[in-house]
Amino acid sequence: MIVALDVILFLILLATAVLALQVKDLLAAVSLLAGYSLFAALLFAGVSAVDVALVEAALGAGVTGVLFIAAILATARRSDAPSDRRRRLVVLPLIVAFVAMMLFASTGLPDRGDPEAPAQLGVSQTYLADSLADTETPNVVTSLLADYRSLDTLGETMVIVTAALSAALVLARRGEVPAWPQRRGGTDPGGGGGGPDPDAPDRAPEAGSAALADPGGHVAAWSPTGESPTETDNEPDPEERP
């Protein structure tokens, strides 16, 4: 890794991030975010994290942009003006305090590649030494993810498939007028009950759909008022994947 190159990449990264927040045209913001992911991938590659860089380039700079654009086309292209400028007076000090805290905490981290770092002293030595003999796999990252720690990977895969399924279930119903009655405040314990229903069989499907809508408590609340802004919120973002 070359320090000057890293600094330049970091500056471009910061510039794309700030621009993506400032720009009002959401399509431009999406392209800026894709650029951000690309430079983040370059930084990852710079510290020899090639596997992470590949995933970041494919997901962050590729598919996420397409999904965001699809979401924009389904909603609105321009972001609203900030409703209240005074909010910045609260938010900015919070952000500054958070960044300062993070920078302070980062001084306690071990240097990159430090052989005495706690992460290097534990079980990772065994993995590095035994991976080739145990699994005939030269790429330790792969044998770690798919063999030694495959339970983590299984959980991650489940999260991805579940997230996509929930997105499909929520988004496939958009545009429909909700058939269930508004149940304000009635979402707490009675949602799963359905106890008093059996005597009214013709109401059963309706009650069922209401019970389905309840667990989040959000669906019944947002559908009638305005659905466009919430649609993008409901999209499980692949970027959130570790």
Binding site: A58, L59, V63, A146, T157, I160, V161, A164, L165
Partner: protein, 148 residues
Amino acid sequence: MMMTGAYPSVVVRVTCALLSPFIAMFGLYVIAHGHYGPGGGFAGGVFVAVGAILPRLTLPEELSYRIFPRWIGPAAGGVGLLLFLLVGLAPMLVGAEFLDYGAVEIPGMAASRVRYLGILIVEVGVGLAVFGAMLMIFDVLTLRDDDA
């Protein structure tokens, strides 16, 4: 909402039609080559999904949905997850722990070779699941009211 369908520019159409099979093939390479190089199921699955999404963005619908039909997203997601789970369950049949592939004895194969094979199947499962998830999200985002 008119997201999918034939793109007006012939340059874009031809470029995407030419590129997408190679992108998908590169994804398969990344999945299969995870033992030796960067990548594996996650990145490879995303590449294959891009190979499926590009035709949807640019080609006429009857063509792009014939190459990768709509049902293939949920199906691939489920099959991939199931494959992973079954590989995890196989060692339990011979009394070993969940996901301990090396315990399964295949005649003529060393335990390390069985683990190698287990990793490959897991990568394919993860790749299928990620491919299905990405395609599912894209399909449902571009769903139009009339084909719900």
